[in-house]
Subunit: 312 residues, 2 copies
Amino acid sequence: MSDERPEFAFINWIARQSGSRTEVQLGIGDDAAVLSSGGKDWVVTKDVITAGVHFDAKTPLALVGRKALAVNISDLAAMAAQPCAAFIGIVLPKSMTRSAAEELYRGLQQLASEWDICIGGGDTNSWDGPLVVSVTLLGLVESGQAVRRDGAQPDDWIFVTGPLGGSLESGRHLTFTPRIREAETLKQAVTLHAMLDLSDGLGSDLFHLLDRSGVGAILNADSIPIHPDVSKTLPSAARLQHALSDGEDFELLFTVSAADGQRLIERPPPGVELFRIGEITAAPGASLVVDGEEQTLPRSGWSHGFGQTAID
Amino acid sequence: MSDERPEFAFINWIARQSGSRTEVQLGIGDDAAVLSSGGKDWVVTKDVITAGVHFDAKTPLALVGRKALAVNISDLAAMAAQPCAAFIGIVLPKSMTRSAAEELYRGLQQLASEWDICIGGGDTNSWDGPLVVSVTLLGLVESGQAVRRDGAQPDDWIFVTGPLGGSLESGRHLTFTPRIREAETLKQAVTLHAMLDLSDGLGSDLFHLLDRSGVGAILNADSIPIHPDVSKTLPSAARLQHALSDGEDFELLFTVSAADGQRLIERPPPGVELFRIGEITAAPGASLVVDGEEQTLPRSGWSHGFGQTAID
């Protein structure tokens, strides 16, 4: 079929390696995909990543593809859902070669395979502008069991699943492992009241959880784990600032009752790093205890510097 | 909350007018949305539209937003599914004002309201590049009842739901009505063997249905309805070429058994325009009868001229 448009060849190449899942009854090749599940809830997330904002001209394209999917998997982890089917929108610069596009897709596909995600469909375009990768990811969770942001209660303990800061500078934002397994393990061990993934930075994302739950929080600065990617030569206040505001950590922030929190500390579930960083308060607002002194935590997180944000 | 990032204000503005549906158990404001249905299938489609390809600098932004959703609704019509929840990714040029962004969103939201679609979530970014709108739309269909592209059978009659051609030149591609109601009416009246929506043009899209179904087709040129938007002063061959290849008609192309086809002709279902344009053949390939002479129909459809195409 020599007169077929070259894009169709790329799409057929994509379709041949998209995997299969029983939930995806119909995948690439029709007007839409068909998803079905036996009484489970579908959890849907969408993130768009763009050249100059979430990656730059030097980022290997396989890592661009990987990140486009990884940030969405992280959103499903934050709901304690299991990823299932992805829908991929790619807008390619016209200057990009087919092999470059394949490299991007290969990075995405490799992560999809690791998490047993089926590519259900999508849309591929080319244009005069820079690269855009838009991923919609659907996951499954037992009916009513998605962990939301709005369930935090006064006196809950607040945990994060790993050290924070330095993700962008170190390149960790391109290679991080979404915390799907940690969320699943935690969900088995305790009752998760509220959870989200840290994308804009603890100092900013915390407020999303507090606002949705109608509560406040007090954090202990000494307990906030600072990632080794944050230079040890910096003054401690600067290191704390990085942990609070660099963003793109993609660790989970969650709250549980004090009793469950105690349980997690005494019998840490296998394979989950846990740091207790503070407590939920009935009074709104957030504060930070630094050297024994309580300071107001301002609503300021890391900004990509390009006005990036996310609806979800 | 004066120190909140301006994007959050825009997102909150979006969230306030996103509607509600029982299937959307959790919408904007968390890491992901939660969808649930009672034994129905979810049908998922994704289309990305970009400045310079699907619209230009002169297109009113409300119509850009409208089109971004409309093309996705059309994909659900092609599956005979009912639209339910949309996830909106917008990448805004940094030069775009908040009120311009709202105009875009208002056009999208107005069409969403008309079709009782709930905005379930999404992602909003700004950057140095041109405008991108990426929509993922989820619809519902009775279990196993989605109409696919692969069910056409030899001797099926081929129909389209409206006249073709001239959509881009006339601006119809920005204001068309997706054929959801027509698909629903047809599904009630007959057994739809195969269906798709005409986006690239009859001459190109027909092959998607034929290839998936493993069949061929013979079309009658005289029966192909040509839209009044195609100039009547053109020679008839040129007018036919427009109908075959202009694209963006967003009419449905479907096949039914000869008996069902006869039924549709004798008792046309109310509110559905129907044109019988040909028949499915067991032999692969497509031909066109022009002035009593059978010609091969080449695999060439309208190309946006920018290499645009769609996975689905």
